[in-house]
Amino acid sequence: MTAVIHASDLTKVFGKSTAVDHISFDVRQGEIFGFLGPNGAGKTTTTRMLTGVIPPDDGSATVLGYDIRSEPVQAKQRFGVVPETSNAYTDLTAWQNLMLMGELYGVARAQAARRSSELLTVLGLIDRRDQKVQAYSKGMKQRLILAMALLHEPKLLFLDEPTSGLDVQSTQMILAMLRDMNRDGTTIFLTTHNMEDANRLCHRVGIIRNGRMVAIDAPEKLKTAIDRVHTIEVSFDREVAGDALAALPGVTGVKRIGDKWQLTAEKQDAVILSLAAFSQQNHAAIVTLNTLVPSLDDAFLRLTREGSP
C-alpha cells in the first residue's frame, strides 16, 4: 500500500532536550493511524513537523509525496489540520472563517460557499453561521475547526486530540464524521490520549515514548503482543473436571471462577481448538468462550513504562 506519510529519522531538539529522537514510520493510504503517547512524549512536536509548522532539526518527512521542508506549500495544499486548541478567528463569524480558509486554499468562492454550507449543516452549526466564534462553546469551536480543515476536501487529515474535553454529542459527531471520511478514502493521522477512540477508530497505532517510537501495529496485535501468556474463559452446559481441562495440549494453568473455567496458555488458538474437540468428545456444549486479552490501555501503559523495551 502507498505511504501517504513517510517519516525518516525525524528529530527535534529544544535547547538541551530532544523532544523527538530520530523516529521513522509510514502511514498508509486510506488508514486511520493513531499516534499515542504520554504527555511530553513528542506527539504534538512530531505532528507540527509533519504539518510543516516547525522544521525538523534532522531527518526528513514526505507527506503525500512532497518533501515537507522543500515543498511545504504543495503538501499543505493537500492536507487539513485540526489542532488541539481551537484556532479559529474568534472576532470573525464561522462563515467568515470558512471563507478565509477557502481563499487560503485557493477554493473558488461558489465552491467554498457550497462546501461551507454542507459542512456547517453536518456539524450542526448552520444556524450559528453568522455568529462570531467568540460566543461558541468549546465543542462548537472544535467542530468549526474541523469544518475549516475539511473545506478544501483534503486527502489527508491531521487531528491533534480532536475530542479532548468535549461533550458526548460533539465527540460522537466528530468521530462519526471521521469514520465516514475514512470510508470515503481520506487518510487520518490521529493524535490522541483516548485509548477508547484509538481502539475503535484506528487501523494501526504508533506509540511514542520520550521522543522515540516504541511500537507500531494494529491495536489488537499490540494488545496481544504485550502478554506472552493468554487467558481464555470457558463455561460448559454440564460439569467438567478441572484436571481434564489442565491436561489439554497447550494449557499451562486452570482456575475455577464461579461457573466458568479460566485457562492460561501460550498459544490461545491451539487451546481453543482443543476445547472444541474436548466439548465434542465429552458431550459438554460450550456455553461461553472468551479470550481475555489486555486492553489497549494495558498495552499503552506497558509500552510507555520507563525501562520497558
Binding site: G52, V73, M148
Partner: protein
C-alpha cells in the same frame, strides 16, 4: 493551479490582508497609536510654532500621519496572532511566510493611505493647492510600503505581547519625526542633524509632499523618489528574510 506560484500566493496574501482589515483596523491600540497620537503631536507643534506657515506644517502633518498609521498595525499583528494561536493556523495553510508578511503589509499600507489622504484633503480645505498630484500619489504609495515594512521589521523579535513591538515602534517613530524635517526645516538643521536626516525615509517623503503642495524641496525630486524606493526595497526584503527565519520560534 500551482499553489506555490506567485499569482496564487499573491491572491492568498490579499486574503490575509482582508482578514487583517476586518480584525485590526478598529482595535483600540491601532486607533490610539495610529490616529490620536499623530493628531495630538501635530496640534502640539501647530499651536507652539506660530512662526511656521501652514504650507510648511501641512506636509509635516501628512508625513506624520503616514508614518504613524502605516506602522500602527504591522508591528502587532504577529504578536496578536501568536497569542491567539491563529498564526499556527496560517502556518499550517498553504501560504508562504512571505505571503503572510505581504498580507499584513498590505493591510498596513491601505490603512496608512486611507488616513493620509484625509490629511491631504485637510490641506486642500485649508487653502493649499495640489500642484503635483502624480508625485503626491507615487510618494504616498512608496512611503506607505516603506513605513509598513518598517512596522513589520519591528515585529521580527518573537513575542506574544503586542505592546512590546508597539512600544519599540514609538522609540523609532519619535526620533524619526524630529530628524526628518517635519517640524524643523532641513535648511535650519545643524550638520549632524542633516546627516541623520539622510538616513530617514520620512525625510524624502516629507520633501516630496512639500514639493507636491508648494513646489519647495530640499533634495531633487528624483533623489527623493529613488531614496524612498531603495528604503522600501531594502526594508521589505529584510523583513521577509527575517520573518522567515524567526517564524518557527513563534510557533
Amino acid at each position: 493551479m500551482n499553489p506555490a506560484g506567485l499569482p496564487e500566493q499573491l491572491r492568498r496574501a490579499w486574503a490575509i490582508a482582508k482578514k487583517d482589515i476586518r480584525l485590526y483596523y478598529a482595535k483600540n491600540s491601532v486607533l490610539v497609536f495610529g490616529i490620536l497620537m499623530p493628531v495630538f503631536l501635530f496640534l502640539a507643534f501647530f499651536t507652539g510654532s506660530r512662526q511656521l506657515p501652514l504650507a510648511f506644517l501641512i506636509p509635516g502633518l501628512v508625513g506624520t500621519a503616514l508614518l504613524f498609521t502605516a506602522t500602527a498595525i504591522s508591528p502587532a499583528i504577529f504578536s496578536w496572532e501568536g497569542r491567539h494561536g491563529t498564526l499556527e493556523r496560517l502556518a499550517s495553510c498553504p501560504v508562504t511566510t512571505e505571503a503572510i508578511v505581504l498580507g499584513d503589509m498590505i493591510a498596513s499600507i491601505l490603512y496608512g493611505i486611507g488616513i493620509t489622504l484625509i490629511t491631504v484633503f485637510i490641506g486642500l480645505a485649508l487653502g493649499l493647492s495640489l500642484l503635483h498630484g502624480i508625485t503626491m500619489i507615487v510618494s504616498i504609495l512608496l512611503a506607505a510600503c516603506c513605513f509598513s515594512a518598517i512596522g513589520m521589521l519591528l515585529a521580527v523579535p518573537p513575542t506574544s505581547e503586542p505592546s512590546t513591538p508597539m512600544m519599540l515602534s514609538l522609540l523609532i517613530k519619535f526620533p524619526l519625526i524630529f530628524i526628518s524635517g517635519i517640524f524643523i526645516p532641513l535648511e535650519q538643521m545643524p550638520g549632524w542633524g542633516l546627516v541623520l536626516a539622510v538616513f530617514s525615509p520620512l525625510t524624502y517623503f516629507t520633501d516630496l509632499v512639500r514639493y507636491s503642495f508648494i513646489e519647495t524641496h530640499y533634495f531633487p525630486v528624483l533623489i527623493d523618489i529613488s531614496a524612498l524606493a531603495l528604503f522600501t526595497l531594502v526594508f521589505t526584503a529584510g523583513t521577509m528574510y527575517l520573518h522567515k527565519r524567526t517564524m518557527p520560534k513563534r510557533l
